[in-house]
Protein backbone atom coordinates (compact mmCIF):
# COMPACT_ATOMS: atom_id res chain seq x y z
CA UNK A 1 0.00 0.00 0.00
CA UNK A 2 2.83 2.37 0.83
CA UNK A 3 4.22 1.64 -2.62
CA UNK A 4 1.14 3.23 -4.14
CA UNK A 5 1.81 6.37 -2.17
CA UNK A 6 5.39 6.31 -3.41
CA UNK A 7 4.12 5.89 -6.98
CA UNK A 8 1.80 8.81 -6.52
CA UNK A 9 4.62 11.04 -5.29
CA UNK A 10 6.77 9.84 -8.15
CA UNK A 11 4.08 10.56 -10.72
CA UNK A 12 3.23 14.05 -9.55
CA UNK A 13 6.84 15.06 -8.91
CA UNK A 14 7.64 15.07 -12.63
CA UNK A 15 5.81 17.40 -15.07
CA UNK A 16 6.12 15.00 -18.04
CA UNK A 17 4.72 12.05 -16.11
CA UNK A 18 2.00 14.27 -14.65
CA UNK A 19 1.00 15.37 -18.15
CA UNK A 20 0.90 11.74 -19.32
CA UNK A 21 -1.38 10.78 -16.45
CA UNK A 22 -3.63 13.78 -17.07
CA UNK A 23 -3.95 12.74 -20.70
CA UNK A 24 -4.56 9.07 -19.86
CA UNK A 25 -7.41 9.97 -17.51
CA UNK A 26 -9.32 10.82 -20.71
CA UNK A 27 -8.68 7.34 -22.12
CA UNK A 28 -5.95 4.97 -23.40
CA UNK A 29 -3.49 6.36 -25.95
CA UNK A 30 -0.68 5.13 -28.19
CA UNK A 31 2.87 5.95 -27.09
CA UNK A 32 3.36 8.12 -30.19
CA UNK A 33 0.27 10.17 -29.43
CA UNK A 34 1.37 10.62 -25.81
CA UNK A 35 4.85 11.67 -26.90
CA UNK A 36 3.70 14.21 -29.53
CA UNK A 37 3.05 17.21 -27.22
CA UNK A 38 6.38 16.75 -25.41
CA UNK A 39 9.52 18.42 -26.70
CA UNK A 40 11.83 15.64 -25.54
CA UNK A 41 13.50 12.75 -27.34
CA UNK A 42 11.47 9.56 -27.65
CA UNK A 43 13.95 7.40 -25.65
CA UNK A 44 13.74 9.91 -22.76
CA UNK A 45 9.96 9.90 -22.99
CA UNK A 46 9.91 6.10 -22.98
CA UNK A 47 11.86 6.15 -19.72
CA UNK A 48 9.02 8.16 -18.16
CA UNK A 49 6.51 5.58 -19.40
CA UNK A 50 8.67 2.83 -17.94
CA UNK A 51 8.76 4.58 -14.55
CA UNK A 52 4.97 4.89 -14.60
CA UNK A 53 4.62 1.26 -15.64
CA UNK A 54 7.07 0.03 -12.97
CA UNK A 55 5.15 1.94 -10.32
CA UNK A 56 1.88 0.30 -11.40
CA UNK A 57 0.19 3.57 -12.35
CA UNK A 58 -0.10 2.56 -16.02
CA UNK A 59 0.08 -0.62 -18.06
CA UNK A 60 1.01 -0.97 -21.72
CA UNK A 61 -0.12 -3.47 -24.32
CA UNK A 62 0.97 -4.10 -27.86
CA UNK A 63 -1.76 -3.70 -30.48
CA UNK A 64 -0.24 -4.65 -33.81
CA UNK A 65 2.75 -2.36 -34.23
CA UNK A 66 1.47 0.19 -31.74
CA UNK A 67 2.02 0.18 -27.97
CA UNK A 68 -1.04 1.48 -26.14
CA UNK A 69 -0.86 2.90 -22.63
CA UNK A 70 -3.73 2.55 -20.14
CA UNK A 71 -4.12 4.11 -16.75
CA UNK A 72 -4.57 1.76 -13.78
CA UNK A 73 -7.39 2.81 -11.51
CA UNK A 74 -6.36 0.98 -8.34
CA UNK A 75 -3.16 2.91 -7.54
CA UNK A 76 -5.00 6.15 -8.29
CA UNK A 77 -7.75 5.20 -5.89
CA UNK A 78 -4.98 4.56 -3.36
CA UNK A 79 -3.42 7.92 -4.15
CA UNK A 80 -6.74 9.57 -3.51
CA UNK A 81 -6.41 8.38 0.05
CA UNK A 82 -3.21 10.31 0.60
CA UNK A 83 -4.42 11.50 3.96
CA UNK A 84 -5.11 7.92 5.01
CA UNK A 85 -1.51 7.06 4.11
CA UNK A 86 -0.19 10.10 5.96
CA UNK A 87 -2.15 8.97 8.97
CA UNK A 88 -0.59 5.49 8.69
CA UNK A 89 2.90 6.96 8.44
CA UNK A 90 2.20 9.00 11.56
CA UNK A 91 0.70 6.04 13.42
CA UNK A 92 3.97 4.17 12.69
CA UNK A 93 6.01 7.17 13.81
CA UNK A 94 4.04 7.48 17.03
CA UNK A 95 4.54 3.75 17.68
CA UNK A 96 8.30 4.27 17.44
CA UNK A 97 8.19 7.54 19.39
CA UNK A 98 6.18 5.95 22.23
CA UNK A 99 8.43 2.88 22.39
CA UNK A 100 11.54 5.07 22.50
CA UNK A 101 10.09 7.49 25.10
CA UNK A 102 9.03 4.61 27.31
CA UNK A 103 12.45 2.95 26.98
CA UNK A 104 14.22 6.21 27.93
CA UNK A 105 11.82 6.67 30.84
CA UNK A 106 12.54 3.17 32.14
CA UNK A 107 16.30 3.56 31.82
CA UNK A 108 16.14 6.88 33.70
CA UNK A 109 14.09 5.22 36.44
CA UNK A 110 16.74 2.48 36.65
CA UNK A 111 19.45 5.11 37.07
CA UNK A 112 17.73 6.67 40.08
Amino acid sequence: MANHLDSFFSAISDPTRRAVIERLVEGPAAVGELHAPHDIALPTFLKHIKVLEASGLVRTEKKGRVRVVHIEAAPLAEAEHWLTRQREIWEDRFDRLAALAERIERSQADDL
Binding site: S13, E22, V25, L76, A77, E80, R93, L97, E105
Partner: protein, 154 residues
Protein backbone atom coordinates in the same frame (compact mmCIF):
# COMPACT_ATOMS: atom_id res chain seq x y z
CA UNK B 1 -7.31 24.37 -11.12
CA UNK B 2 -8.55 24.04 -7.59
CA UNK B 3 -6.79 24.47 -4.29
CA UNK B 4 -7.23 21.78 -1.70
CA UNK B 5 -6.40 22.21 1.96
CA UNK B 6 -6.73 19.32 4.32
CA UNK B 7 -6.15 18.67 7.99
CA UNK B 8 -5.55 15.53 9.99
CA UNK B 9 -4.55 14.80 13.55
CA UNK B 10 -3.21 11.92 15.59
CA UNK B 11 -3.31 11.61 19.38
CA UNK B 12 -1.32 9.12 21.42
CA UNK B 13 -1.03 8.34 25.12
CA UNK B 14 2.60 7.64 26.02
CA UNK B 15 3.85 6.09 29.27
CA UNK B 16 6.58 8.69 29.70
CA UNK B 17 6.79 12.18 31.15
CA UNK B 18 6.02 15.18 28.87
CA UNK B 19 9.70 16.21 29.23
CA UNK B 20 10.83 12.87 27.79
CA UNK B 21 8.34 13.04 24.90
CA UNK B 22 9.45 16.61 24.19
CA UNK B 23 13.08 15.47 24.11
CA UNK B 24 12.21 13.09 21.26
CA UNK B 25 11.09 16.10 19.19
CA UNK B 26 14.10 18.28 19.98
CA UNK B 27 17.08 15.90 20.23
CA UNK B 28 18.09 15.40 16.60
CA UNK B 29 19.66 11.98 17.15
CA UNK B 30 16.51 10.70 18.88
CA UNK B 31 14.15 12.29 16.39
CA UNK B 32 15.95 10.73 13.44
CA UNK B 33 15.45 7.34 15.09
CA UNK B 34 11.65 7.47 15.18
CA UNK B 35 10.79 10.04 12.50
CA UNK B 36 12.59 8.77 9.42
CA UNK B 37 10.78 5.94 7.74
CA UNK B 38 12.81 3.14 6.23
CA UNK B 39 10.96 0.34 4.53
CA UNK B 40 9.33 -0.58 1.24
CA UNK B 41 12.66 0.16 -0.41
CA UNK B 42 12.92 3.64 1.13
CA UNK B 43 16.00 4.78 3.00
CA UNK B 44 17.07 8.18 4.25
CA UNK B 45 20.49 9.34 3.09
CA UNK B 46 20.85 12.35 5.33
CA UNK B 47 19.26 13.78 8.44
CA UNK B 48 20.48 17.23 9.36
CA UNK B 49 18.67 19.20 12.06
CA UNK B 50 18.85 21.89 14.69
CA UNK B 51 15.62 21.44 16.62
CA UNK B 52 15.34 24.77 18.39
CA UNK B 53 13.00 27.74 17.84
CA UNK B 54 14.09 29.20 14.49
CA UNK B 55 15.85 25.92 13.70
CA UNK B 56 15.44 23.49 10.82
CA UNK B 57 15.39 19.91 9.59
CA UNK B 58 16.60 18.57 6.27
CA UNK B 59 16.08 14.95 5.27
CA UNK B 60 16.61 13.22 1.95
CA UNK B 61 14.59 10.07 1.31
CA UNK B 62 15.58 7.81 -1.56
CA UNK B 63 13.99 4.86 -3.30
CA UNK B 64 16.02 2.93 -5.93
CA UNK B 65 13.18 3.14 -8.49
CA UNK B 66 11.15 6.18 -7.47
CA UNK B 67 14.04 8.59 -6.83
CA UNK B 68 14.74 11.11 -4.10
CA UNK B 69 12.57 13.49 -2.15
CA UNK B 70 13.66 16.18 0.23
CA UNK B 71 11.90 17.10 3.45
CA UNK B 72 12.67 20.58 4.77
CA UNK B 73 11.21 22.10 7.88
CA UNK B 74 11.49 25.32 9.85
CA UNK B 75 10.56 25.47 13.52
CA UNK B 76 8.55 28.59 14.30
CA UNK B 77 7.74 27.95 17.92
CA UNK B 78 9.20 25.65 20.57
CA UNK B 79 7.83 25.67 24.12
CA UNK B 80 9.67 23.18 26.35
CA UNK B 81 7.70 20.08 27.33
CA UNK B 82 4.49 21.36 25.80
CA UNK B 83 4.39 22.62 22.20
CA UNK B 84 6.13 22.83 18.82
CA UNK B 85 4.86 24.50 15.67
CA UNK B 86 6.74 24.04 12.42
CA UNK B 87 6.27 24.30 8.71
CA UNK B 88 7.60 21.78 6.24
CA UNK B 89 7.69 21.06 2.56
CA UNK B 90 8.24 17.87 0.57
CA UNK B 91 10.29 18.58 -2.52
CA UNK B 92 10.61 16.46 -5.65
CA UNK B 93 13.01 17.03 -8.54
CA UNK B 94 11.04 20.01 -9.83
CA UNK B 95 10.14 21.67 -6.55
CA UNK B 96 7.60 21.49 -3.72
CA UNK B 97 4.96 18.74 -3.79
CA UNK B 98 3.23 19.77 -0.60
CA UNK B 99 3.53 22.44 2.05
CA UNK B 100 2.29 21.82 5.59
CA UNK B 101 1.98 23.41 8.96
CA UNK B 102 2.38 20.98 11.86
CA UNK B 103 1.53 21.51 15.52
CA UNK B 104 2.65 19.17 18.27
CA UNK B 105 0.91 19.52 21.62
CA UNK B 106 2.22 17.59 24.62
CA UNK B 107 0.21 17.47 27.86
CA UNK B 108 0.55 15.60 31.13
CA UNK B 109 -1.94 12.74 31.27
CA UNK B 110 -2.85 9.83 33.50
CA UNK B 111 0.13 7.47 33.37
CA UNK B 112 2.36 9.75 31.32
CA UNK B 113 1.81 12.21 28.50
CA UNK B 114 -0.63 12.77 25.69
CA UNK B 115 0.85 13.91 22.39
CA UNK B 116 -1.28 15.32 19.58
CA UNK B 117 0.07 15.96 16.09
CA UNK B 118 -2.05 18.14 13.82
CA UNK B 119 -1.08 18.76 10.19
CA UNK B 120 -2.63 21.23 7.77
CA UNK B 121 -1.48 20.47 4.26
CA UNK B 122 -1.83 22.00 0.82
CA UNK B 123 -0.85 20.08 -2.29
CA UNK B 124 0.89 21.86 -5.13
CA UNK B 125 0.68 20.75 -8.72
CA UNK B 126 4.34 21.29 -9.47
CA UNK B 127 5.38 23.24 -12.56
CA UNK B 128 8.52 24.72 -13.96
CA UNK B 129 8.83 27.85 -11.87
CA UNK B 130 7.87 28.82 -8.36
CA UNK B 131 5.58 31.56 -9.69
CA UNK B 132 3.48 29.16 -11.72
CA UNK B 133 3.72 26.43 -9.11
CA UNK B 134 2.32 28.15 -6.06
CA UNK B 135 -1.05 29.39 -7.34
CA UNK B 136 -1.91 26.15 -9.13
CA UNK B 137 -2.95 23.36 -6.87
CA UNK B 138 -4.38 19.89 -7.03
CA UNK B 139 -6.09 19.62 -10.41
CA UNK B 140 -4.32 16.33 -10.97
CA UNK B 141 -5.62 14.99 -7.67
CA UNK B 142 -9.15 15.99 -8.65
CA UNK B 143 -8.88 14.23 -11.98
CA UNK B 144 -7.46 11.13 -10.32
CA UNK B 145 -10.37 11.17 -7.87
CA UNK B 146 -12.88 11.54 -10.70
CA UNK B 147 -11.21 8.74 -12.60
CA UNK B 148 -11.11 6.43 -9.58
CA UNK B 149 -14.78 7.07 -8.85
CA UNK B 150 -15.72 6.53 -12.49
CA UNK B 151 -13.79 3.24 -12.47
CA UNK B 152 -15.66 2.10 -9.38
CA UNK B 153 -18.93 2.52 -11.28
CA UNK B 154 -17.80 0.08 -13.98
Amino acid sequence: MTCEFQTFDITRLIAARPETVFRLWTDARLKEEWFCWNGNGWTHDTYDADLIEGGFERVRFTHPEVGSFRYESHLFHVLPASRLIYGYTMLGNTGPISVSQATVAIEPAEGGAQATYTEQVVFLDGGDSLDTRLPGCVAVMDRMKDHAEASNDD
